[in-house]
Amino acid sequence: MRRAFVIVSTVLLVVFALQFVFAAVGAFTRPQGDSSYALHSLTGMAVIPALCILTTLSAVLAKAPGRLIAMTLLPLGLTLVQALLAALSGAFTDAAGGSTTVGLIVGGLHAVNGIIAVHVVVGIVRAASRFAQPATASITPKSSSTVGGAA
């Protein structure tokens, strides 16, 4: 199960990386339209949340320490914030639908929040790998949970 935790969290990291690619695809699609970011929004609103929940689930099933499980919940929260930032950026437009300074700042935070989320996922993958390694060598679960707890 610890291996599954490593695998699922790694898949989450890969999808997060892909998400940046999809954002670029949206930004460079011509002409710009409602559907430019379809891939990015689908991944962000369906695939990533599902993988986040799977990661938490696999952490729970692998009997990871509470702290690590709590950490796996963070990407889900950040993804929710991410969707809200995108919607809010759209809300702060002028009457004709043009960008405003506030809207662009909120839009910028969308990128910052994305970077933070990736760092959190990198941390989870590392912690999951450390948690999985001693498991193969250790005999008692007690020792492994101490190692995991120190992660």
Partner: protein
Amino acid sequence: MSAGSLIAADLVVAVLVSAGWLGAGGAAAAGRGRVALGLGLFALLATVVRAVTVVALARAGWWFAAEKVLIAGPFAVAGVAVAAPSLVRRRAAAVPLLFAGYTSIAGLLVSLLHGYPVSVGAGLLAAAGVLAATVATWRFVGPRPSRRVFRAAVLASVAALVAGTGFAVSPGSPSGAGHAHIAPSGAGHAHIAPSGAGHAHTAPSGAGHAHTAPPASVGRGTATVVGKPARRFTLTAATATVNVNGRNVQAWTFNGQVPGPEISATVGDVIEVTLRNKDIDRGVTLHWHGYDVPNDQDGVPGVTQEAVLPGHEFVYRFRADQPGTYWYHTHSASDIGVRKGLYGVLLVHPATSEVDSDVVVPVHTLDGVVLPAPEEAAVPAGTPVRLRLINTDSTTHRYAPGGSYRVAAIDGRELRDPPTVSGTALLIPAGGRYDVVMTAPAALTVDGRLLWSAGGATAAPDGWPVLDPLTYGQSAPGPFARFDRTFTLVLDRGLDLRGLLPRYAHTVNGAADPDIPVQSVRLGDVVRFRIVNRSLVVHPWHLHGYHVLVLSRNGRPATGSPLWLDSFDVRPGEVWEVAFQADNPGMWANHCHNLPHADAGMMLHLMVSG
């Protein structure tokens, strides 16, 4: 602060509250006591700010705050009551802080997924989520509670889940009340020509559907039996490659061009338009946007007629008796259809015209290119010009006429004593039309791009104030002394689980098309609509078959010329009251003219029965 900004600000504060509590809980679980205390105090402060924003929203209108007071409010109180003692004792405990985080997240999710109307089901499901998350947290983080407390929490969570689901799916709940069955009233007389090569030259008389119209459709006197057509047009819908501003674009066209041919007539004419479909697989119809025709000519597929499929045709016939600027477009697969080019201009000229030069500017974005192409017109100085500004896109455009001008008409209805203005921009909603009268030299900029000029130029129109039609022109006493029916439409977003796939729909009163109940009135009723925008985006509202008189916006009565509109922008946080006399019988579409929004559920119907 406008109610629209308040809605956005409240959302931001709600996110900060949740992030604060969850961050504090996480820090406490990680043994970072001081960080946890700091974040907890931040969350507490943000909760106080949230109380202020919610009260301000409630003052702007109960629709904006209902679920925040009735569901998120008690949740927040419970969260603070549980978390605050640990803050006061300066000993951060993970579970109480996380519980506060779950309550604030749950409140936020209720607002985002099913905010209006307040539903017991949503509240119970949220409570189930909070309890389940708390139980799971107890299981893995911090000291475990006594077995009894633990079991009670699990039990309460399951009970809330079952009850919440019950309320959510029971037929009595507002979201479960789908009984909209809309039969095409015109199905019996849709004029379908034999398919194949024959349709090209065997133009049917078109009289068939006019004579077999049910009695309900014979609304406006002689409107349906309109007499001998004086102006005949044939529109053939087909895919084609069109050249726009030097670029080839794959478009859907009427007669191979974008926009389609201009249909113009003079008051007193009878217009007959034969619509043929060559190869638009999703079907086409013609809707006369803003032109109030009898119901069976309105062109709404599945409601007033069947969509015209490839190889078929339909004949529209109506009297030109409403002078003004209008446009036509397909209402079948309308989002993609209009966007790809199935639209054109409809003009009805008065018997006598006061201006020499008449310029039509139907703004459209075709595959990223703005139409029409910029034009330099040769108009002698001193000549009056009537610029007919049309917005055929799904979003608002900003028109800046350079020079002094007056807005003679909006949505095809003349304004009363419009004053001359200059250095003022016009915001025309999706589907809306403004007739602007200027004297050459003159110019027109749309969204900062010079689209038309006659020896004039516009200097830096970016900072211009925007004309508010509600305070423009001379007022006149309103025609309505009483209202027989009042409907409130609350526009929002919400989770729609009634289709095959769940979707984040654009909703009206918490429901999405086709599950929004039909609103019924009797012929002759004076009907008032109150339209409330709870969402974060603009919704250009468009009722078919009628022009509506604007009564008030945000509680302030319209003080300018009587405004009879068919398309008006309801911005976030705005409340519009409009009224009309239901004198045009039939089943009328009533929807957001941001067509992707209409596709995503923001469409309902008004039944006017005799």
